[in-house]
């Protein structure tokens, strides 16, 4: 509906024309786009739960490989990478509270503190404890 509004604009700029062209040429199969968006939003809402990505894929797509391919084409990362990223963002938020690091780990959906710590360090280059200390120092100053 918004795209129709865009097309009906009296004076389209080079940019609005480009956006309309990309929408038309790159995202022609709207039902697939909507299915992938729905799956991604499910991950966003339920990241803290044990999410079965295989089940999610099979529900909406013929195969999990097709689902992963479509997801990556739209978001530039696999559903699993997205899930990890959402959990990490939530963990960063909770690290600004006084909650115990182990509790944060389970609260955002990880099952092992060791793997959580090592993934956190890989993605932010510091451990959760150091991240928390740095945040505290910033807000103290």
């Amino acid at each position: 509906m918004h795209n129709e509004k865009l097309v009906s604009l009296k004076s389209m700029t080079f940019y609005t024309e480009t956006v309309a062209k990309i929408s038309r040429d790159w995202y022609p199969k709207d039902h697939i786009v909507q299915q992938v968006i729905k799956a991604k939003q499910f991950i966003d809402r339920h990241f803290a739960d044990p999410i079965d990505l295989d089940a999610m894929a099979l529900e909406a797509f013929y195969s999990k490989f097709h689902f992963i391919r479509c997801f990556k084409a739209l978001y530039g990362r696999t559903p699993h990478q997205h899930l990890i990223s959402v959990r990490m963002e939530a963990a960063k938020h909770f690290l600004e509270t006084d909650a115990r690091i182990a509790d944060i780990c389970y609260r955002v959906g990880f099952e092992s503190v060791t793997s959580f710590t090592s993934l956190f360090k890989k993605m932010t280059s510091v451990t959760p404890a150091v991240y928390r200390d740095r945040k505290k120092a910033i807000f103290k100053n």
């Binding site: 918004h2 609005t16 956006v19 929408s23 992938v36 991604k40 978001y75 945040k135």
Partner: protein
């Protein structure tokens, strides 16, 4: 190496500060007088230790040509992330902000483009 700062060129720093804080909702981070102009940055109110946005004066004539060419083509100089483009569009419209592109879905993103009154189109984007 870290990305700590990015910039938008503005035709008037005081006017820009008013628009980016009062209308868009950013917070002023740094203001250092430097003769005719100043080192002036804002940050997201939600991420005050995040990347700073420099409101950069247009002291270099070719930069004005570049800014005008982008503006005339409707091309956003930069983009900001938002949780709900439709809601923000309604909020900004009520504040009198003009848009060259209303909320428009492009694949997994919803975009809108506004006029920052300082010579730039700015895109707001929501990842769906």
């Amino acid at each position: 190496m870290k990305i700590k700062l990015t910039s938008v060129m503005v035709d008037d720093q005081d006017k820009a500060l008013a628009f980016y804080t009062t209308i868009l909702g950013f917070a002023k981070k740094t203001e250092i007088p430097m003769g005719e102009h100043k080192w002036l940055t804002v940050v997201s109110a939600e991420e005050q230790d995040g990347v700073e946005l420099l409101l950069e004066p247009l002291g270099f004539a070719p930069a004005q040509t570049y800014q005008k060419a982008l503006f005339d083509a409707g091309i956003p100089l930069t983009m900001f992330h938002i949780n709900d483009v439709d809601k923000e569009y309604e909020r900004l419209m009520k504040l009198g902000v003009t848009f060259s592109m209303p909320p428009t879905q492009m694949g997994p993103a919803k975009l809108a483009v506004l006029d920052d009154t300082c010579g730039n189109h700015i895109q707001i984007v929501q990842i769906l």
